[in-house]
């Protein structure tokens, strides 16, 4: 096992551990803190996969942007520690199905071709800023603009909804 794959396993296991911590904490703000670290550790995985731009964006947008809004919201609403939440059996069933499907898929991939899972066999992935930029602004310019229009619409909608009635 090379140093490289060692790092991949390290960040992978760390992400899973932190993810489990996120969903098992009773206090919402503790979950949020673990989620920040989980996002950072996934960014570490992106770095190792040479998708540097995505790693940077992951840190800025998710860890820095969205999580600040989450934490801000949690700070402003009254926090209550969740005690013994009772869930309906339908929800449990759906969770079980999704969980087993996903883990089955991962297991299948692991058993089928074990060696091709590490990215070093695929050669260098195109995740640099130049590559992403030329994809977005040259090859896929119109879809990119359409998506930004969608975001603009969502933003205007949010402003309209939060506005006071005049």
């Amino acid at each position: 096992m090379s140093l490289y794959s060692g790092f991949i396993y390290f960040f992978g296991i760390l992400s899973i551990f932190l993810g489990i911590m996120v969903i098992t904490r009773k206090n919402a703000i503790h979950s949020a803190v673990y989620l920040i670290f989980c996002i950072l550790s996934i960014a570490g995985l992106f770095f190792l996969l040479q998708a540097e731009f995505i790693a940077g964006i992951q840190i800025i947008v998710y860890a820095g942007g969205i999580m600040v809004i989450y934490v801000f919201t949690i700070l402003l609403i009254k926090l209550e520690v969740v005690k013994g939440l009772k869930r309906r059996w339908e929800i449990k069933l759906i969770t079980a199905i999704v969980f087993s499907a996903l883990s089955g898929e991962i297991l299948y991939l692991l058993l089928r071709k074990r060696e091709a899972l590490l990215p070093e066999e695929y050669g260098i992935a195109k995740g640099t800023v130049q590559a992403v930029g030329s994809y977005l602004l040259r090859d896929y310019l119109i879809p990119f603009e359409v998506v930004s229009l969608l975001l603009l619409v969502a933003m205007i909608g949010a402003i309209m909804l939060s506005r006071k009635k005049v």
């Binding site: 803190v33 964006i57 820095g64």
Partner: protein, 343 residues
């Protein structure tokens, strides 16, 4: 063996040098700032410990490290303990990307004077800078008392609004550097033979103001405004944890000065890179130029702190949203237009 030296030994030495540099300069800066503020405000400042009081910060550091670590009863322990660490680590980690100089030859081995040259350097810095906000928000919340909470809420909204201006002012620099790596940005200034501050004065202006706001210094120190909020977000902290916040704040000041130097003032390049008869200046090591510019901007930070009053909260938000961000957008538009027309 060579791999061991290149990938283990040299990086470890570099990390030690950078961390020592930050700590020592924080200690010296605290002393200089107190003396300088004393000078500005017609008083003496600390002058008892050592010659001219230079050992005052060392004495303070020893006091803080040996002091009892008081944890109030009502706090959320996990968050209370982890937030100073978040603030401290994020303030230190970004120094890995700062290029202190060009390459050096030591014993026939080329040594770069930076720890890492990331392809996405600036994005990494912005990202870790925004994670540093959590140190303040969570620290203020975990103390479970009203002044820290108010301080942390203020800091959250302040940091979010000034981060936008900070990032937008950077975009117009990137038109010229065509790279996000800090080393490449300095090299672009070397090739163009001009510091970016001269072709992007507005961007520099916006970046510097946003930098002062991001490091929570006067006139933007509302998160810890002593006269209204006791000590702001760190009211309940004492001993080591308080020291972590304090070092983080000064590390931010040094870091933003370094960033301004690299982005707008040519990093390790000598002054007037376009004037040929000044070539003899090249014999002075580049590190000297870098540290000189760095010290100059740190001094400007202190000067601002000593002379300007604190802004009111609404004024602070107005400066960012109504002035800096529109100006930065206009700057991006005009710069883009010029770049396209010239090309």
């Amino acid at each position: 063996m060579s791999i061991f030296i290149d990938f283990v030994l040299i990086p470890i030495i570099k990390i030690l040098v950078i961390v020592t540099f930050v700590f020592v300069s924080v200690l010296i800066l605290i002393w200089i700032e107190r003396r300088f503020q004393g000078f500005v405000q017609s008083r003496l400042g600390p002058n008892r410990v050592g010659p001219q009081g230079i050992l005052q910060s060392v004495a303070d550091a020893i006091k803080l490290l040996t002091k009892e670590d008081v944890i109030p009863n009502q706090v959320d322990r996990f968050i209370f303990n982890i937030s100073p660490i978040i603030a401290f680590v994020t303030a230190l980690v970004v120094f890995a990307l700062i290029p202190f100089g060009a390459e050096l030859n030591i014993f026939g081995r080329k040594i770069t004077l930076y720890l890492a040259d990331l392809n996405i350097g600036l994005l990494f810095i912005i990202g870790f800078n925004s994670i540093g906000v959590f140190g303040i928000i969570l620290g203020g919340w975990a103390a479970k008392s009203k002044y820290p909470l108010l301080g942390s809420l203020r800091s959250a909204s302040q940091m979010i609004s000034y981060e936008v201006a900070l990032i937008m002012s950077l975009v117009s620099v990137l038109f010229f550097s065509r790279s996000l790596s800090l080393v490449e940005i300095v090299k672009a200034q070397q090739e163009m033979k001009v510091w970016f501050a001269f072709i992007q004065p507005l961007a520099f202006f916006i970046f510097f103001i946003a930098g002062v706001a991001e490091s929570n210094r006067l006139p933007f120190d509302l998160p810890e405004a002593e006269s209204e909020l006791v000590g702001g977000f760190h009211t309940e902290y004492s001993g080591m944890k308080f020291a972590f916040y304090f070092v983080a704040e000064f590390a931010h000041v040094i870091f933003f000065s370094a960033l301004v130097t690299v982005l707008f003032f040519g990093g390790w390049l000598r002054p007037f890179p376009n004037v040929d008869w000044l070539n003899f200046l090249d014999y002075i090591p580049p590190v000297f130029w870098f540290l000189g510019k760095l010290a100059f901007f740190v001094f400007i930070f202190m000067w601002i702190r000593a002379t300007w009053p604190r802004y009111r909260y609404d004024q602070l938000e107005m400066i960012s949203w109504k002035w800096l961000i529109p100006l930065a957008l206009v700057n991006i538009f005009i710069t883009g237009l010029i770049v396209i027309l010239v090309k």
